[in-house]
Symmetry: C2
Subunit: 283 residues, 2 copies
């Protein structure tokens, strides 16, 4: 694995591989890697001839009150995790390499589709425009044939699919299932910030998703009541719930009674750490 | 020259050429071609191994009160003009091919840099976002090595350069000098709409640019006064002037006294037809 911090040398190396007809896979990450990320890399390795992993904590997708400064940066440990996976290039640019013109209003940003205005988009204004912008840049830098994103960030994955569709990126997007700890907690770089107390309570998020899924499968269709109960349970356990909702799995539209393919989505703060999770249910 | 209306067959043909190491040139147009467009094509032909010309009247860049419906569509004549120039593919998609999800607020649009808010951007809200969106799509469909734009649309060219820079498109942008009629009028698809009376007066735009350039070269630095005089002249001749201004040629910032590389830009309506022109002056 070669570690590259600059765009041009990465492009030069990719150019040669592309000319040779190799399929290129991209795994965009913000680093602080865990097994969920490694699953993405393994999938890319299995489907592509050359694999680029990017690590970039993108300031554009953090709000002014959010945790950009304290977001964990663990490049050495990340390299050690990637080394055995036969990654070709780890692209880890700094902010000046990605935003040489700064990040102000004068610089072009990519917009978002309507589904970016709900859920995390409602709670984190500008977040998804930061995501579509940096992902567009990474797509143009790497020009991958395939790119890999975790299903844990369900809304983000739907937005990336819309980005590829609306702007005609010639890229196949693959969503990779959420990797969970033994107690069900979805793996996330933010889990490391939980106090041991909060870490013990955190799996309640997944438990609430599973209970709601069970009741949906059992035929309960009172979605408002189901979600309100889950919110109450989580609130009683000390979570500050941003949302707990059931939507159509394919396009995040409101779940109609006839809808069979649903997704339950939750975002909640425990202590000062905001966690998200989701579960797809076919009823 | 092969005429293609759909994205996928174009991609398939380009893929083979790219694999063979051929450099691909793109000339994006809205059709109703004149010698100014053909200059772009000839430049592309000279610099690239494969040339794509696109013709698409992009609804996203027209305001509700603008001339989208009446914009001239002359595909047969355009084909006849392109045929001798050894264009490989003419890509002429319809609106449904380019915007299968519609053109509403739910679809992702690309934003604009700060320089899109002045000049034509101030007079045509949303116009340049329509341009950056469709150009991004064309870039992703064709993935050219080089793309060609007319210097007549000076602000648009500066915005396209910002688009490539800010979103890291791996594309070299070439601006091609404005082609003029014998009387100095910049060639434009909109010239055909002028009444014969208006057509006779239209070269005054270029004359005003030249006179202002002469006075700049002669050392006159009272830009406000120079521009006001030009506006008065044009207004007296029956033009409704949107703007007549002198800016820094490299970034369209306000022209400082020490600035040596200037651009004079004008937009004015004559009858119901809005014309633009510009002239770069090194003083």
């Amino acid at each position: 694995m070669e570690l590259l911090h600059a765009i041009e040398p990465l492009r030069a190396r990719l150019h040669a591989r592309r000319r040779a007809g190799h399929r290129i896979g991209l795994v965009p990450t913000m680093g602080n890697l865990h097994q969920g990320h490694l699953d993405l890399v393994e999938r890319a390795r299995a489907q592509c001839d050359a694999v680029v992993v990017s690590i970039f904590v993108n300031p554009l997708q953090f709000g002014p009150q959010e945790d950009y400064d304290s977001y964990p940066r663990t490049l050495t440990a990340d390299c050690a995790l990637l080394e055995p996976l036969q990654v070709d290039w780890l692209f880890a640019p700094n902010v000046a390499e990605m935003y040489p013109q700064g990040q102000g209003a004068g610089v072009i940003r990519v917009g978002t589709p309507a589904i970016a205005d709900i859920l995390c988009g409602a709670n984190r204004p500008g977040h998804f425009s930061g995501v579509t912008t940096v992902v567009s840049k990474l797509f143009n830098i790497v020009q991958p044939d395939r790119a890999y994103f975790g299903e844990k960030d369900y809304q983000q994955l739907a937005i990336i699919r819309a980005l590829v569709r609306d702007l005609d990126f010639p890229i196949t997007i693959t969503g990779v299932p959420t990797r969970r700890e033994a107690d069900g907690l979805a793996m996330s770089s933010r889990n490391g910030r939980l106090s041991s107390d909060d870490r013990q309570r955190a799996p309640l998020l997944y438990r609430a998703l599973c209970e709601t899924a069970d009741r949906l499968r059992a035929g309960d269709r009172n979605l408002d009541q189901l979600c309100a109960q889950a919110r109450d349970t989580l609130t009683a356990a000390g979570f500050a719930v941003d949302y707990f909702t059931v939507l159509a799995a394919d396009d995040l539209s409101p779940a109609l009674p006839a809808q069979r393919n649903l997704v339950i989505l939750v975002a909640a703060k425990i202590g000062s750490t905001r966690l998200i999770d989701n579960l797809v249910v076919n009823v």
